[in-house]
Amino acid sequence: MILNISSLDTFYGETQALFDVSLGVAPNEVVALLGPNGAGKTTTLRSILGLTKPRRGRVTFDGADVTDWPTHEIAKAGIGWVPDDRRLCPTLTVARNLAIAIKRTRFRAWSIKETCAIFSPLEYLMDREAENLSGGEMQMVAIARALIGSPGLVLFDEPSQGLAPKIVQDVLETIRQLKAEGIAVLIVEQNAETALSVADRAYILDLGRVVWSGEAAALRDDPALRRRLLGA
């Protein structure tokens, strides 16, 4: 396991958002984190990054206990993040949004060129200000930004949101490619179908608790189970 979180309790102020959440991701593995609105999926990612420090529990990454590290150190250890609301700096151009993300880690360095090869529209968007992009375009930049930071683990928060179906396929393809390269992926999705199509394993969260975990294939292939846990 490159990422291991154990018994996380996370609070927003006084409000507890995660209750005793444990999960792990191995290199070459894609793990899906599923669940309804407000289940605590995004909070789990924030806790991993140290953006919302867990009150209890540990997070280890790449062999080190990173629970108490400052966020930038955790990121530098090799975690890339694709936040659900993209969070590009609106007044910067795409190129500059990408440029600030470049960093060295012990993992493979992605070049801007490579990411452009994944998302062909990127090339033409380079000198546009991020605020003038459409939602889907922003999403591509956000993913590219995570890759440019040479991650060993990528946290995807709703990567398919706002993307055209073809592009979603490209993203999934990229995730497979990452996996093939030995990079771990943790993917948060409301759209379970999409996530399960690439995931090896899955966790389901509800009201801040892990309510199910197991092989993704089990969920994928068992509509009844899926219906029971995730609806439709």
């Binding site: 609105n37 029971r228 609806g231």
Partner: protein, 248 residues
């Protein structure tokens, strides 16, 4: 049934952005109404417009037939509209008792009275004690609000709203952040209030809402998508197929 509180075609915009498009709601006396909807649907904005925090761009709010649109929050509050907040809004440096006392209409009426001290008025303390007991905080009156447990703070939040002696009480996600025990305790509290005054609750916890509410309105895109008894809403096919449908 004549409505105690009516919102008529409310629209609210911030610049280019429309947050409420067309909201029409009616709450009868003694009714317990729920409001639900996905994140960002405009539920809290709706509360804010109803309780006077924002003035709607269009539309009318009426209390007991009287037009209260655009009145300031304190004016609306004085007419008997009280609310709690999603993010707790207590007077943290006050004790629980003082939190309640501050909201008493008796104190409000004597707001510019400096002839006597609050602490000397035993009527205030007595009223506060009754309210504290009602929300399950008996014996904790002397504790600073900031030092109360989370669940107690939630209860106090409702206690403060109740202290203003409202005719209609708006509760914004009262269970958020509570565990199952806390939620059950709150459900009991709200259940005990049911029928005594009109209560409107925004809630994410469907189990909680569906078990308590007389009527529920679903809000999204600043519109009322659906309205009805919990049973009526559950009849929807998509609902039945979803997590929501699995409640019971």
């Amino acid at each position: 049934m004549s409505a105690l509180f009516e919102a008529d075609r409310l629209q609210m915009r911030f610049g280019n952005r429309i947050v409420l498009e067309d909201i029409t709601l009616r709450f009868g006396p003694g009714e317990l109404c729920g409001i639900m909807g996905p994140n960002g649907a405009g539920k809290t904005t709706c509360f804010n417009v109803l309780t006077g925090r924002y003035r709607p761009s269009r539309g009318q709010v009426r209390l007991d037939g009287e037009d209260i649109t655009g009145l300031r929050p304190h004016e609306i509050a004085r007419k008997g509209v009280s609310r709690s907040f999603q993010i707790m809004n207590l007077f943290n440096d006050f004790t629980a008792r003082d939190n309640i006392v501050t909201a008493l209409p008796g104190l409000r009426r004597r707001g510019f009275d400096v002839s006597h001290a609050v602490a000397a008025n035993s009527a205030f303390a007595d009223q506060a004690e009754v309210l504290l007991e009602r929300v399950g905080l008996a014996g904790k009156g002397g504790v600073l609000a900031r030092s109360l447990s989370y669940g107690d703070r939630r209860a106090l939040e409702i206690g403060v709203a109740l202290a203003a002696a409202p005719r209609i009480l708006f509760l914004d996600e009262p269970t958020s952040g509570l565990g199952s025990d806390g939620t059950a305790r709150l459900a009991a509290l709200i259940g005990s209030l049911k029928g005594q005054l009109t209560i409107v609750i925004i809630e994410h916890d469907m189990r909680f809402l569906f078990s308590l509410a007389d009527r529920i309105s679903v809000i999204h895109w600043g519109q009322v998508l659906a309205q009805g008894t919990p049973q009526m809403l559950r009849d929807n096919e998509w609902v039945r197929n979803s997590n929501l449908g699995k409640l019971q």
